[in-house]
């Protein structure tokens, strides 16, 4: 229900008081009979600024899903609209408030990071705009009772213990050095790993976030001095590649273990041969299921799928399936997502009551021959 009065002819601000002649107009699009077309899915995250590289990966994944959908539904297309938050929590609320006024927008893939999620998600929840984040892994996000919040990947609380388990059971490490980038993601993860490893932690060093540190030689020296055979790093691939390279050239011989923030081509590209043998955990299925996705992504963007691209692709596909089924209103879409269950690229996509994925299997991947290949499932 939306009533709009028309006042007067071409108006200057002062003319407002003059006349209030009737006539209500209905806003187009929503609902009334037939299939709604020209609907939109939003991407919410950084496309410019320091974290742009991560945001672009996610947007590309969602965009690919939309493009593929439009090829099949040429008569009734969906478009992807981007909300470039620059990863900045102070800009996020304004964008979110604008997004919720767009009646054609049926869902948001994002927000990409946990910080901006905390600033923007309450607004989405109040306004009933459904969101599926493909990358914000802070466990607390699903604890706020936000009905519209969904997450398509395992959070840090599932991945951290898995990483610790792999280090203990598979690598059989007695001494582990734990480091993180003091980001919400990295530190959260590293703290869980530290807790789970207990006395096996031989040393630790927190470093600065992406773009804030280049030289890791003190960390390398500490890691060597600790006598650790495994180095766990909580953080993103950009710093991880620098770190692993300096670890190798600094004479550290142990295994480098990191989590899904590092599962990116950029890690191998940046670190070169030093990345060889590194272990990356990820709450996502091995890419044999995703070969088709990888090929399509590579064709469209001229690079291999990167961190969270596949998750974003899956998330966008949930919304697209909802649109195809005609579930375009907020509550319909919410119910649709709640009962959604289908095989995606990264997992069998299904959400529990809190909006968390109900099936999460964490896999260990290994860098071998310059590629990230599946190693084994961590059970």
């Amino acid at each position: 229900m939306r009533s709009v009065f028309k006042i007067g002819a071409p108006v200057v601000a002062a003319a407002l008081a003059l006349s209030a002649c009737g006539g209500t107009t209905n806003d187009a699009g929503s609902g009334s009979g037939g299939k709604a077309c020209d609907l939109k899915i939003g991407f919410f995250g950084a496309l410019t600024g320091d974290a742009a590289n991560l945001g672009i990966n996610i947007k590309n994944g969602a965009e690919l899903a939309v493009t593929q959908y439009n090829e099949k539904h040429a008569d009734c297309k969906v478009s992807l609209t981007s909300f470039d938050s620059q990863g900045d929590p102070s800009i996020a609320p304004g964008l979110a408030q604008k997004a919720v006024t767009d009646k054609k927008l049926v869902g948001i893939v994002g927000p990409a990071f946990s910080g901006e999620s905390k600033a923007a998600d309450p607004i989405f929840d109040k306004a009933g705009l459904n969101i599926i984040t493909a990358s914000a892994t802070n466990p607390a996000l699903s604890e706020n009772g936000w009905k519209t919040f969904h997450r398509i990947l395992g959070n840090d609380a599932t991945q951290g213990p898995a990483a610790a388990k792999y280090i203990k059971d598979v690598l059989k490490a007695q001494k582990v050095f734990v480091s993180d980038d003091t980001s919400e993601y990295g530190k959260g993860l590293a703290d869980i790993v530290k807790k789970d490893l207990g006395s096996a932690v031989a040393g630790s060093d927190e470093t600065a976030a992406d773009g804030k540190q280049d030289d890791f030689s003190p960390t390398v020296t500490k890691a060597k001095a600790s006598g650790a055979t495994v180095f766990f790093y909580g953080g993103y691939y950009s710093n991880a590649s620098k770190l692993v390279k300096q670890l190798k050239s600094g004479g550290f011989t142990g295994t480098f273990v990191a989590a899904d923030g590092v599962k990116d081509d950029g890690f191998i590209k940046g670190a070169g041969a030093a990345a060889e043998g590194a272990i990356v955990t990820c709450p996502c299925l091995p890419p044999d299921k995703a070969a088709e996705f990888s090929a399509a992504y590579k064709k469209a963007y001229n690079s291999d799928p990167a961190t969270y691209s596949a998750e974003a692709y899956d998330a966008a596909n949930v919304f697209l399936a909802g649109i195809a089924a005609g579930k375009t209103s907020s509550s319909d879409m919410n119910a649709f997502i709640g009962s959604y269950s289908a095989q995606g690229v990264t997992k069998n996509v299904k959400f529990d009551a809190k909006g968390e994925p109900s099936e999460v299997s964490v896999w260990a991947y290994k860098v071998s021959g310059g590629k990230i290949v599946p190693d084994q499932e961590i059970k």
């Binding site: 071409p10 108006v11 408030q97 600065a208």
Partner: protein, 378 residues
């Protein structure tokens, strides 16, 4: 090249020439329009990709920041590249006292935040204001970064990178709803389904926060005007123009510099507190060096020393990147180009203070033609 400044000063002179009642009417009308901007949603000005109310809030917030920084840079001539540090301290004081470690009401948190930033301004200023100008720039830059790092690393106090959520809002005063206007081309329509409650502070509507911020801007502007026209203002000006001469004339320059620094810091803390309550969530990522740089840009672009100039520049520099979002990732490139162009074509800033315009004229005209009052007014 001086078209813009003569335009503005032309307006200023006309305004001053008006009778007193007309002045008051005009000023009130202007203020009302500014207050109602997010309700009117004027086409061409409104932002299409981001909520206009939220953008306006940021404009008002950064205007407040710019007024504070203008005292430091514009009046006292101290280049402060770490202003974001005070902003952050203000925001986190509210966060820590209002949510993380205590549940004090916001109206108590804000004055505490201002006192804390005032004190931190004195603590930072007392040792460092003795170093020379350019050195102060790097020292303050370092201060801004240290504050951020401490916020990241002092986990138990600030929550580290997780930040602080559920920051208290100002008390609500739910009286009536104001419907927004929507525009169809240049035809305005009243949209009854989209109303702003007067005054309800919530997450979905930024407009009440905008009004709050704007009110604070006007209050601080008034205080700023009183201060600058007082003995303190003249002492700052003397210090800025020639520190040694001022000292010789009996102005305790160090003490006045410290006063400027601390006053600026307190206003920074006030803005930070305001930011925290609007945002209801803060984390250290909000407070990077880049913001300090942008703040300085606002002051210099506006014309250091002119309070209206820096307000306009702050609003402009906040609004423009949001307005021109369709330029997507090229907008920072264009922002950079705009700054360079400004530096070349309008080196005094958009609206230089009358004082410096006069000073420039004084260089051209023979000294005995300057009127005496021109010295004191800024």
């Amino acid at each position: 090249m001086n078209a813009v400044s003569s335009f503005f000063h032309g307006i200023g002179d006309r305004f001053r020439a008006l009778p007193r009642w007309a002045k008051i009417v005009l000023a009130i009308a202007a203020a009302v329009i500014v207050y109602l901007l997010p309700i009117i949603n004027p086409p061409l000005i409104t932002t299409t990709d981001s909520d206009f109310g939220a953008v306006l809030f940021l404009c008002a917030l950064y205007a407040l920041v710019a007024i504070g920084l203008n005292i430091v840079i514009g009046y006292a001539g101290l280049l402060d590249l770490g202003y974001i540090g005070f902003f952050a301290i203000g925001a986190f004081t509210v966060g820590v006292l209002g949510s993380a470690h205590a549940k004090l009401p916001l109206l108590l948190c804000i004055p505490i935040a201002m006192v804390v930033t005032l004190v931190s301004g004195i603590v930072l200023g007392a040792p460092t204001l003795r170093v020379r100008g350019d050195y102060l720039a790097i020292v303050t830059l370092g201060f801004g970064e240290i504050v951020r790092l401490i916020l990241v690393n002092a986990d138990s106090l600030t929550g580290g990178s997780r930040g602080i959520s559920n920051i208290p809002t100002p008390p609500n005063l739910d009286l009536f709803g104001i419907p927004h206007l929507v525009w169809d081309g240049f035809v305005a329509k009243v949209d009854l389904s989209n109303q702003t409650r007067f005054l309800q502070f919530g997450v979905t509507d930024s407009i009440p926060y905008y009004w709050l911020a704007l009110t604070l801007v006007f209050i601080v502007l008034f205080l700023d005007w009183r201060m600058q026209n007082s003995r303190v203002g003249r002492a700052w000006e003397a210090t800025r123009e020639d520190e040694d001469a001022a000292e010789l004339m009996g102005v305790p320059t160090f003490r006045f510099k410290l006063l400027a620094f601390a006053t600026g810091a307190a206003i920074g803390g006030l803005s930070g507190a305001l930011f925290a309550t609007k945002q209801q969530f803060i984390n250290p990522d909000n407070f990077t060096i880049l913001y300090s740089v942008l703040f300085v840009a606002m002051v210099v672009v506006g014309g250091q020393g002119n309070r209206w100039g820096v307000v306009v520049a702050a609003a402009l520099l906040t609004w423009a990147p949001e307005k021109f979002r369709f330029l997507a990732d090229a907008r920072f490139l264009l922002f950079g180009l705009a700054l360079m162009a400004l530096a070349i074509f309008r080196p005094q800033g958009l609206m230089p203070p009358r004082r410096s315009v006069r000073a420039k004229k004084a260089d051209e005209v023979a000294p005995d033609q300057i009127d005496a009052e021109g010295v004191a007014r800024a």
